[in-house]
Amino acid sequence: MGLRDNVAKVLIPEHTLRTRVAELGQEINTAYTDEDRVLLICVLKGAFIFLADLIRHLEIRHEVDFMEISSYGAGTVSSGVVRILLDLGQNIAGRHVLIVEDIVDSGNTLDYVTRNLRTRGPTSLRVCTLLSKPSRREIDIPLDFVGFEVPDEFVIGYGLDFAEEYRNLPFIGVLKEEVYAE
């Protein structure tokens, strides 16, 4: 059985994603200048496909760096405290930083990451997320660039996974309940 058989419905089709990612690129082009030399920080793994497409639309000077984080396990979810598996390759003091995320759900992890990065003294710190699930938010966190707001459903594709699969679907889909409820 193919991966697509487990998709209940397509929430955001490929062409809509493409158009919106291009628009986000333009919004970012407007928000920064070449002199800002904005540093895009991709939180792995989910955001790498979004990032790969977003950067194609950037005309301003920019750089890219990566972070990989992992939760400590059950019980720490609400604190948002995560383990940093891969830290940034560079110092961000005095830099304009833009965090690139695939999805903001409760907001706890992102809140922790932004608090962590803020201690390093960036000149500015903003967030760009492809998806936002406002109905799940537990902490108020400002999002500067948002691709789409999505309902509280299990979304997959375009970098978002379920058990490491479905990341490569070219659209955002909703996973059939029987797949993740098993």
Binding site: D34, R56, V64, E164
Partner: protein
């Protein structure tokens, strides 16, 4: 091309259209070769490979997972020996899995050789390499490349993941950097 970029790029070596077509071909070949495999693990080497990885993975129809590793050389003097530090390892064990290493470029071959030795020791079911660019003229150590995007001459290339001092990494094409940029 912005002015800043056009001032630094001597010529476009591979344009976007050519790249897209070739990455699709590589994905099709991988889909065929791994058709009967259900435990394919793509391992991308940061930072350079993330664009190639994103484009390659989205054209794969075979089930696979994606993992990234990050490397750092100990210092400039050790580059030629290929001694690198693994600063982030894979999240998942590769034992018993079919591993495909995804690299942006193979130059001397030292880094890929190191990775092959590292992962071979972990007993994967199979171990192959997918490399976007190869500079055969620079090779110091023989390394097998199973899926190769393009062979290129020995010029300083940027774009599609490849950088010069963290610049030009995200250009949608592969460009040759002007000499005066890196000889400053």
């Amino acid at each position: 091309m912005t002015k800043q970029t056009s001032d630094a790029i001597e010529r476009v070596l591979l344009d976007e259209e050519k790249i897209t077509a070739r990455v699709r071909e590589l994905a099709a070949q991988i889909n065929t070769d791994y058709a009967d495999v259900d435990a394919l693990a793509l391992i991308g080497v940061l930072k350079g490979s993330f664009i190639f990885m994103a484009d390659l993975a989205r054209h794969l129809t075979v089930p696979h997972r994606v993992d990234f590793i990050a490397l750092s050389s100990y210092n400039r003097n050790t580059v030629s020996t290929g001694a690198v530090r693994l600063i982030m390892d894979t999240r998942f064990s590769v034992a018993g899995r079919h591993v495909l290493i995804v690299e942006d470029i193979v130059d001397t071959g030292y880094t890929l050789d190191y990775l092959l030795r590292t992962f071979r020791a972990r007993q994967p079911a199979s171990l192959r390499t997918s490399v976007f660019l190869s500079k055969p003229a620079r090779r110091q150590v023989e390394v097998p490349i199973d899926y190769l995007g393009f062979e290129i001459p020995d010029v300083w290339v940027v774009g599609y993941g490849l950088d010069y001092a963290d610049r030009f990494r995200t250009l949608p094409y592969i460009g040759a950097l002007k000499r005066e940029v890196y000889e400053k």
